[in-house]
Symmetry: C2
Subunit: 188 residues, 2 copies
């Protein structure tokens, strides 16, 4: 493994700020089957993933960061509903979701940048309902990895739509052998 990158607020926000544009480039205007198909029961389609990311913008990352900063370990986080989008995305189109995600994410990135976080803030601790003590820095790092995990998941779900079309090349395409994407990177 390579050396990894040390966390910085700027580096994290550089990734987080790019995700809406990346998803828009990848998904906006794609024919419906590419955004609606999943990998089978209890797996996410690209449409599901964007809805899941939206729910995270509303209820997870910044909300939990605020709990850490305002209440610390005394007040455990609310559990995150990983399936809320099955309800919340109903009746919406992919362009609706992409716009909603972009608006929410932009505001959240601006909020976090505005906090002017310093090392002493990043070390503040909260209480995860299942994992126990976690720091603000770990929360923000997880937000970044969660984004990238779901981007990889979308690419993987889309790739597998052609798994029966590639013929003998399947042997050379590890993404087609990936474990089923399931519900992807969890943000519980």
């Amino acid at each position: 493994m390579g050396p990894g990158i040390a966390f910085s607020v700027e580096g994290a926000l550089a990734v987080l700020g790019r995700t809406p544009g990346t998803l828009r480039s990848l998904l906006d205007g794609m024919p419906d089957p590419w955004i609606e198909h999943n990998e089978g029961e209890e797996t996410f389609s690209p449409f599901d993933v964007v809805g899941h990311l939206i729910h995270g913008e509303r209820c997870d990352w910044v909300a939990r960061a605020r709990i850490i900063m305002d209440q610390g370990e005394n007040r455990p986080f609310d559990p995150f509903d990983r399936f809320a989008m099955y309800r919340e995305s109903q009746g919406k189109s992919m362009p609706d979701l992409l716009n909603e995600f972009a608006t929410l994410r932009e505001a959240n990135v601006r909020t976090v940048a505005g906090w002017g976080l310093r090392p002493e803030h990043l070390a503040l601790r909260g209480s995860h309902p299942a994992l126990g003590a976690v720091t603000l820095q770990e929360l923000l790092s997880t937000w970044v990895v969660h984004d990238l995990g779901h981007l990889a998941q979308i690419a993987s779900v889309m790739a597998k739509q052609y798994r029966d079309e590639v013929g003998p090349w399947g042997a050379y395409l590890p993404i087609l052998q990936d474990r089923e994407g399931g519900t992807g990177g969890s943000s519980r």
Copy 2:
């Protein structure tokens, strides 16, 4: 598994045409460590991946499609150099590579669209140096899956840069447990 999507030239080109914009959104202007770090020896960084995709635009997909249409199975494909970018990307910046990839891909998508491929063309066969007989449809499908595989690989390599930063959340982030990305989706 879901039902998959039947190949169509339009569907394939819809994916292929979006990849340059997706990579630009994800990578343009990112701080250097995010684009230069790989997962350790003999793995690709995001910078390497974009160079590899460029080499494919020049030497693989459309070149092989032309061999199939012009010479059929009589003329096996040239082997593809999966590591050419270590030489060819030298001295270039990520913006250079993103621009070069976008220009090449746009021209290649236009070329393929201009062929007006019909089912009888898609069934034409070529000879892969290792895999044997393959069809034009399989080649074009593989191009699509190869793009998506490398997009997932870039997301995965980037995610792992924060593997030591997420603390206990690592248990909930399957992308951090992924098999090492290695040289990713092969286009041999």
